[in-house]
């Protein structure tokens, strides 16, 4: 079982604890993405797997053995570094085959494996070039080829796409997944880019401040965020978060109130307490300039055009929220009515900031029908 198990792993530099008692199981053959902002400990975690960082406390298991004291070279891991770490004085060919040569692999096999990697990564014709004669994308592919040629069981990638242009990044993340689906190594991928995490990972482990915040499938991380941090981190623009007070079936937020569907009130009562964090993604909201019932009222402060969508920043009694809409974009200064899609809202416990969970079958509770009817009525009235 080429799995990786972190058992209460702690990593400190002097007094600075960067990974705080991490428990994490990475399954054989899965693509796990370590996601988080810079300084969250994700790279350190990856480097502990590679054996490039000592483990201060706890155990790291790989393939069933404790590997805390096993040196990098004996862990059977390949790694792609953020800066690619190509040897600048060696040609593409030599970079790719260097490890095999050091391991005294049979020259015929070296040649065969190198050729396979070179042609798979479309590096034909570049064999004799030095890294500095290559484009960013080519360097990235050489780094990948060097890691692949080793045919190791663990494949570690430290922000492998962060030095590429946007268009190339979209292309390369797809290629990475395809390569993994050919070899099925245990694949650990570090990134700070949530789109990369969503598209590459079977599971996403979101880290912040040395602590694992949540680990789940991309779909669940997006649709069912485990806590306020996860809700905020995933998605751009970020999820709107408001303090909410449950009072007689109403949610009081920023001095205004809305009446959520009964299923949600039930869920909140189950959780206990009357203070919550209310979360809603900008893309799951509607705003209108026409009067609407059961909506929050705000004033538009700023709009951003994304081409196909527009981001509308508005202000509800001093709290800034954002809504992303397609058409009927209100102008700065206009008064707007804001309704969340109740099938897509998130509620978090006020103290723990963890999700209170979700009621079953939310599909009939989105704003769709209710909103359109009421909107029309309101339109008539105004």
């Amino acid at each position: 079982m080429k799995d990786i198990i972190f058992d209460h792993v702690l990593k400190a530099y002097g007094k600075n604890v960067v990974v705080k008692g991490l428990n994490l199981n990475i399954c054989e053959g899965e693509r796990l993405v370590l996601l988080g902002p810079s300084g969250c400990g994700k790279s350190t975690t990856l480097r502990m797997i590679a054996g490039l960082e000592n483990i201060t406390d706890g155990q790291l298991y790989m393939d069933g053995r404790i590997v805390n004291d096993i040196p990098s070279g004996k862990r059977n891991v390949s790694m792609v570094f953020q800066n690619y770490a190509l040897f600048p004085h060696m040609t593409v060919e030599d970079n790719i085959s260097y490890g095999l040569k050091v391991q005294k692999v049979d020259p015929r096999e070296i040649e065969e494996r190198s050729k396979a990697a070179i042609s798979m990564l479309d590096l034909n014709g570049l064999e004799k070039r030095k890294p500095k004669e290559l484009s960013g994308g080519q360097r990235q592919r050489v780094a990948l080829a060097r890691a692949l040629v080793k045919r190791s069981d663990y494949f570690l990638l430290d922000e492998p796409l962060s030095n590429l242009d946007a268009q190339l990044r979209v292309h390369s993340r797809k290629e990475l997944v395809k390569i993994h689906e050919m070899y099925h190594q245990t694949f650990v991928y570090v990134t700070h880019d949530q789109v990369e995490a969503m598209t590459v990972g079977h599971r996403i482990a979101l880290m912040y401040d040395g602590i694992l915040q949540t680990i789940d499938t991309p779909s669940n991380v997006y649709n069912r965020p485990a806590n306020v941090y996860a809700a905020r981190f995933i998605g751009a623009p970020s999820t709107n978060i408001l303090e909410a007070n449950l009072n007689e079936g109403k949610l009081i937020m920023a001095g205004q109130h809305i009446v959520p569907p009964e299923v949600w009130i039930q869920k909140m009562k189950e959780n206990g307490g009357d203070m919550f964090y209310f979360g809603i993604r900008p893309e799951h909201t509607k705003i209108t300039t026409d009067y609407m019932d059961n909506a929050l009222k705000g004033i538009v402060r700023y709009t951003e055009d994304y081409g196909n969508k527009v981001g509308v920043y508005f202000d509800i009694n001093g709290k800034e929220l954002i809504s992303v809409c397609d058409n009927n974009v209100p102008a700065t200064g206009e008064k707007v009515y804001f309704t969340p899609d109740y099938s897509k809202i998130h509620l978090f416990d006020y103290k723990t900031e963890n999700s209170i969970g979700y009621p079953e079958d939310l599909s009939k509770h989105n704003y769709g029908v209710v909103y359109e009817l009421r909107g029309r009525l309101a339109g008539d009235r105004s």
Binding site: L52, G73, F81, N83, F87, P88, Y98, G99, V102, K132
Partner: protein, 274 residues
């Protein structure tokens, strides 16, 4: 942006620096081809009125000059080689290893750069005397097998190598000596060459220490030979001294021409790129 250099003061500055560094060389070469009379009457003429080789001939008659040149080269080459090797290994240990007392040890090593050579000269002399290396080229060499300056310069250069390159090698289970050979040396080559040049020229120029150790003419080095012809007043052997000077310059110059390309790259490039 590189601005064009157009202000007078910068031009003057650079001209002065070049004069200080270059004129004496031209002077030495030119006077070595003059007769003594010519030299004294037209000392600052660059082109000798009656070019002559008699100074050079005289040197070869008076001294085993080839042997002396070989001695000097032998000492400089061995000293440079050893200093480079020990500096390289020590710098590697200081950059890539953890060990107890590392910072203290580095501090002590660097402190030795502040100790004038004259302080350790006599202890070294006594040590090599005990070992029976008096009047022997190895006596000159032995106390000069390592140098804190080299450790410092190579350590600085190694620190510019992205650590991930070394880590990539660790992941391939490459041994330390192979890392040094395959990765470190190619990447710090400019620093190795410049450090090597400093060591070589310093050894080539050395006078105080060889004069203490070496007694017989066949063991002399070039600076000792030169000293024979120097009298403070310029005296009758002045042009001969100039000839010895020029010959002293010969081997470094030949080496310079041979390694020209590398040396120019070394002193023009900066560090490691992409």
């Amino acid at each position: 942006m590189k601005t064009e250099l157009n202000s007078m003061k910068w031009h003057i500055l650079i001209i002065i620096i070049v004069c200080i560094l270059i004129i004496p060389v031209v002077f030495a070469v030119s006077n070595s081809f003059k007769t003594l009379a010519d030299a004294f009457s037209n000392m600052f003429n660059i082109i000798p009125a009656n070019p002559t080789l008699e100074n050079y001939i005289h040197v070869f008659e008076k001294l085993p000059f080839l042997q002396i040149t070989i001695n000097t080269f032998f000492i400089a080459a061995i000293v440079t080689g050893f200093k480079i090797i020990t500096s390289l290994l020590a710098a590697y240990a200081f950059v890539y290893f953890h060990f107890r007392g590392k910072n203290l040890l580095y501090f002590v090593l660097i402190s030795t750069m502040f100790i004038p050579f004259t302080v350790i000269m006599i202890p070294n002399y006594l040590t090599i005397s005990c070992m029976g290396f008096r009047d022997n080229l190895w006596g000159v060499i032995l106390p000069q097998l390592s140098d804190a300056l080299g450790i410092f310069l190579l350590r600085q250069s190694m620190r510019t190598i992205p650590r991930s390159l070394i880590e990539a090698a660790y992941l391939e289970n490459v041994s330390d000596f192979k890392i040094i050979k395959d990765i470190i040396i190619p990447l710090v080559k400019p620093a190795l060459i410049s450090t090597g040049i400093i060591f070589f020229i310093n050894s080539w120029n050395e006078y105080v220490w060889p004069v203490l150790v070496l007694k017989s003419k066949e063991n002399y080095t070039l600076s000792l030979a030169l000293q024979m012809f120097i009298s403070a007043e310029g005296g009758t052997e002045f042009t001969i001294a100039m000839a010895v000077s020029v010959m002293t310059m010969l081997i470094p110059l030949v080496l310079y021409i041979i390694f020209q390309k590398h040396i120019i790259n070394t002193f023009t490039m900066s560090g490691i790129k992409g």
